[in-house]
């Protein structure tokens, strides 16, 4: 472990703001790049199955 304490870790020798803001931004973007498509996939499946059910009911 390079750092001696948690506060050292967060401070990063004075560069804490830069390091943590970069990592936070990246985390948010990467998370959204997986979360949004996954939600979209679920939504698409739901929409399409609803549409199918509607069409099946219509043709009955």
């Amino acid at each position: 472990m390079y750092f001696n304490s948690l506060s050292d870790f967060i401070n990063m020798g004075g560069h804490g703001l830069y390091v943590w803001s970069s990592y936070a931004l990246t985390l948010v973007l990467l998370l959204s790049s997986v979360l949004l498509p996954w939600l979209n996939l679920k939504r698409t499946r739901k929409q399409l199955s609803r549409q199918l059910a509607r069409e099946a009911a219509r043709t009955k």
Binding site: M1, F9, Y18, V19, Y23, L30, L48, L52
Partner: protein, 249 residues
């Protein structure tokens, strides 16, 4: 081995098989990306020794470098997909290209912003027109252009081919852009430290980087497959296998 690859390639070209095969791959991409990224983050943030000249801000490298790698290689993949679409007329290639563009743009954006943030403690300024950042900025415009073109054109086949053409022309230009921007920067550069001075990196510094790069690629696979699968469902909504699939839900 070769035949297996060829069969796989042809299977992936059919929407139904693509959906089925990638469904099995998805958990592997997800798990490996979480594992690799987690490992890389812990090692890079907490265990890697500090860079003597730059201080702890060098840890931004563990995001900036993988993002930059991916920004460039995703564009190559987009162009390769474009070739497959135009030459072999494989429609799935367009689905993949469409899925690649947004994440490529995100990677370029991350690379630009982290590069700028890294620049503040290193150069004392938020933005610096150095060769690498400027090339990244141009690459960002290339991604935006492809995405904007896809939105603007209809019907879908026209948009697909136009974006494929743009991606291919762009790939031819990327080496030209890099060369000219490099040359331009060395001409105008005041004597200053370059962003990645690479003295021989000790393994403890290098290993997290490797994990992060691999983790980013795994994440790329995860994200692209998710997007591509949604797009396949949307495009093939009227076909029999999609109806079968959704009926059981």
């Amino acid at each position: 081995m070769w035949n297996w690859l060829k069969t796989l390639y042809h299977r992936l070209g059919s929407p139904k098989w693509f959906y089925q095969i990638t469904g099995k791959w998805l958990p592997w991409f997800a798990m490996s990306s979480l594992l690799l990224l987690g490992l890389g983050l812990v090692l890079g943030l907490a265990y890697a020794p500090m860079d003597y000249q730059q201080g702890n801000s060098f840890r931004i490298m563990y995001i900036h470098v993988p993002a930059a790698f991916l920004a460039q290689s995703v564009y190559m993949m987009m162009a390769a997909a474009g070739v497959v679409l135009l030459v072999w007329k494989m429609k799935m290639a367009d689905v993949v290209a469409q899925a690649l563009a947004p994440i490529g743009a995100i990677m370029t954006f991350i690379s630009l912003v982290t590069g700028a943030i890294w620049g503040m403690p290193t150069w004392g300024t938020w933005w610096m027109w150095d060769a690498r950042l400027t090339s990244m900025l141009i690459l960002f415009f290339l991604y935006l252009g492809v995405m904007a073109l896809r939105e603007a054109l209809s019907p879908q086949e026209v948009a697909a081919k136009a974006c494929a053409l743009l991606a291919i022309v762009g790939v031819i230009n990327i080496p030209i852009i890099k060369y000219s921007v490099d040359w331009w920067y060395t001409l105008h550069q005041p004597a200053s430290i370059k962003l990645t001075e690479k003295p021989a990196m000790p393994a403890s510094m290098y290993l997290p980087l490797l994990f992060m790069v691999l983790g980013f690629y795994a994440l790329l696979g995860w994200s692209v497959l998710l997007r591509a699968r949604a797009e396949v469902l949307r495009r093939e909504a009227k076909s029999g296998w999609v109806r079968e699939l959704l009926k059981d839900k």
